[in-house]
């Protein structure tokens, strides 16, 4: 890596890519989309992203470890169905605890299969995804579950009423979770070890990092944050639909990659993923405000994911192609050859 002025500027741009993108999308939408720039819309966006932003926390940590968790979508729905379905029996305190513990268990199951049985994480989580989808329908009988007691409406009101402008308790919860995990990742040894495990598992193990424990805790965290996302979402909407988490996987994966977390692991951050989720949500809100339908939104979301995966793969491809090549040496040789040639022609 040569550090000429231009390339370091580019590197800086790459490093803060997502924040720049956020500002650009915000500016463009504010200027062009009708009714975009007002507090009501911003509040709506904040509330709309809480679920996926919460889910992205654990998902990003799993990806920093170089793994993937495809089961987040079904964990969201599963936790939602448990919260509403068990409420009549256990009360909200009990059902929420069971839902979050369920998410943790799913995460632990995923983690153990990855670390102990040594199965690829996306194969494992593809399996748990299917199992969970079956159990969601099994548990709910195929219908969405709603609770219509005064208590649930009170909770829903509380969670979606502003404490200060823009910030509702559900948004605050997400912000706190993001900041805590971001702090742990960036400022503690435990956090740094996640990056080391993701960067090179063997090296990490040889350096004395208990890699299995870190991978397991990453998957547990992913299960827990997905469950929290599902729980909060159904508490706000007072009903658990079976398709709650259906599209979350698509949104969260694309946001995490756009945020700069590498699929190969060892790089990235939780805050970046959440900013990316905000950026995407602004884009989708803009689409709806322009009067385009939900179909366009889903199509665009798929397209963005495809583009992002292709972009990342292409970057790796170019990097690998350039590996071992020394452009500056080639340039020097070419210069020498041309100098020799000109000397020869001058001599002749």
């Amino acid at each position: 890596m040569r550090s000429s002025g231009r390339s370091s500027l580019l590197a800086l741009g790459d490093k803060y890519r997502i924040y720049i993108l956020f500002v650009v999308v915000f500016a463009v939408m504010s200027l062009t989309a009708p009714k975009f720039f007002n507090v009501l819309n911003f509040t709506a966006i904040f509330n709309a992203v809480t679920m996926n932003a919460t889910v992205a926390i654990g998902f990003t940590v799993v990806m920093i470890c170089g793994q993937l968790d495809l089961s987040i979508g079904s964990v969201i729905s599963f936790a939602g169905v448990l919260t509403m379905g068990l409420q009549p029996v256990l009360g909200f305190a009990g059902s929420i605890a069971v839902a979050v513990a369920g998410g943790a268990l799913v995460g632990l199951f995923n983690g153990l299969l990855v670390t102990k049985a040594k199965i690829n994480s996306f194969i494992v989580t593809l399996g748990t995804m299917t199992i969970l989808q079956g159990s969601i329908y099994q548990f709910s009988g195929g219908n969405s579950i709603s609770v219509t007691t005064d208590e649930v409406f009170k909770i829903s009101d509380f969670l979606s009423k502003n404490i200060v402008p823009l910030i509702t308790p559900q948004v605050l919860l997400t912000i706190v979770l993001v900041l805590v995990v971001e702090f742990v990742l960036r400022r503690t040894r435990v956090g740094r070890n996640f990056y080391i495990v993701g960067g090179n598992r063997t090296t990490a193990w040889l350096a004395g990092v208990p890699t299995d424990n870190y991978l397991n805790s990453a998957f547990v965290l992913s299960g827990v944050t997905a469950a929290i996302g599902g729980v909060v979402s159904v508490l706000v909407s007072t009903a658990a639909t079976l398709k709650l988490g259906e599209n979350s996987l698509m949104y969260v994966i694309s946001a995490t990659i756009i945020g700069g977390t590498a699929m190969s692991g060892g790089k990235g951050g939780v805050l970046r993923s959440v900013v990316a989720i905000m950026t995407l949500e602004m884009l989708y809100t803009g689409i709806i405000l322009f009067g385009l339908g939900n179909e366009v939104k889903i199509f665009l979301a798929g397209l963005i994911l495809a583009y992002v995966v292709l972009y990342e793969a292409y970057a790796v491809y170019r990097h690998e192609k350039a590996l071992g090549q020394r452009p500056e040496l080639m340039k020097e040789l070419a210069e020498r050859a041309s100098a020799a040639r000109s000397r020869k022609s001058a001599g002749a």
Binding site: L70, G127, A306
Partner: protein, 355 residues
């Protein structure tokens, strides 16, 4: 089923480390025959289980000709997809998750084109299907995008295209403007039966299995694919066009998905985006149960046929027992994880840590 698992079979005669190569190119080697035989032994066990359940009165007419025919018909659809999927798994790229919407999309295209004639409809559907395959194969083969995430993204995009173009509407073959003759032929894709018994999908499946097994075991493409699946780097260094091999495997799965998509659409007589839902996972499960390892480069198409049989019989028994579709998902998911786990374990016992 851990004791008699197909994956458990190779562990019965462990190879000496550094001795005879467990990864020999001879696909017809002893261990793979034992492997495949194991798969069919399990299929027979499931048949016996069904018979016993019928004798005890737990389920109705498992052994009736009609039910056995139902099983075979269901196996044909899953099997067709599984044969194509097997090539992707064999090439070391795990699975193609864009299968469900490929099936749905090609169904839509075919029905839309029935207004011209049947040949055009068929060609159009195949062209679109193969295009998706080429696209997947190019991106995964050339740029080494993560196959699971990439095909998942393509699945979403195709879904979006369907929803955009047909605005969430389902379409029917006997719509205004369709040629009656073409509609009759389209209906026949699933319903044509030779000797009033053997359905066209089953014939297609058998042809695909025989040809697929031949290609995998007896052609240079098969050998290249095996090397690619075993170690893409080694394959590349020995001069194999890895990108092309991977590309072809994705084209093949798109081809079989298109055929299955047309058969399913013909069966339901409606073009709908959910026509292929679940076929990706069913096919991967069949491939894995059939003894093909997700690490790539190991397994046979005959084994995959056995895997599809097991899935078909199991589904049928569960349906007869009154277990709902969604609980069947749970069982399938659990079996998938168990089989993959056993595979990984037995490979590690053989001294291979790459599972």
């Amino acid at each position: 089923m851990s004791g008699t698992s197909p994956a458990g079979a190779p562990a019965a005669h462990p190879q000496r480390p550094g001795g005879a190569d467990s990864r020999a190119l001879r696909t017809g080697s002893f261990s793979s025959i034992v492997n495949t035989a194991g798969v069919y032994a399990i299929a027979v066990l499931f048949l016996l289980l069904g018979s016993v359940l019928q004798l005890t009165g737990a389920i109705g007419n498992f052994l009736s000709p009609q039910n056995l025919l139902n099983i075979v018909d269901a196996v044909a659809l899953v099997g067709i997809v599984a044969v194509g999927m097997a090539f992707v798994t064999y090439s070391g790229n795990y699975a193609d998750l864009s299968v469900p919407t490929t099936m749905g999309f090609t169904g839509y295209i075919c029905i839309e084109l029935l207004r011209y004639n049947f040949a055009v409809a068929l060609a159009g559907a195949l062209a679109v299907g193969l295009l998706i395959g080429v696209f997947n194969g190019f991106v995964v083969g050339r740029f080494k995008a993560n196959p699971i995430i990439w095909t998942l993204a393509v699945n979403y995009v195709t879904m979006g295209v369907i929803r955009l173009v047909w605005v969430n509407k389902q379409i029917y073959p006997d719509m205004v403007g369709s040629q009656q003759h073409a509609v009759a032929l389209f209906d026949a894709i699933y319903r044509l039966r030779f000797f009033n018994l053997i359905g066209l999908p089953l014939v297609i499946l058998i042809v695909l299995v025989v040809v697929g097994q031949f290609v995998l075991a007896r052609t240079s493409f098969g050998v290249k694919l095996k090397l690619t699946g075993s170690s893409p780097r080694a394959a590349k260094l020995s001069g194999i066009a890895v990108e092309r091999a991977v590309m072809w495997s994705f084209v093949l799965v798109a081809f079989t998905a298109t055929i299955a998509g047309l058969a399913v659409t013909s069966l339901s007589r409606v073009g709908a985006w959910y026509n292929g839902a679940g076929y990706d996972f069913k096919a991967v499960t069949a491939v894995v149960i059939g003894g093909m390892t997700l690490a790539g480069g190991r397994g046979t198409i005959f084994g995959v046929l056995g895997g599809s049989l097991i899935i078909g019989i199991l589904n049928n028994i569960m349906t007869l027992l009154g277990i709902g579709t969604f609980s069947q998902d749970m069982v399938r998911g659990a079996i998938f994880i168990v089989v993959v786990g056993i595979n990984a374990l037995s490979l590690r016992r053989m001294g291979r840590d790459d599972a």
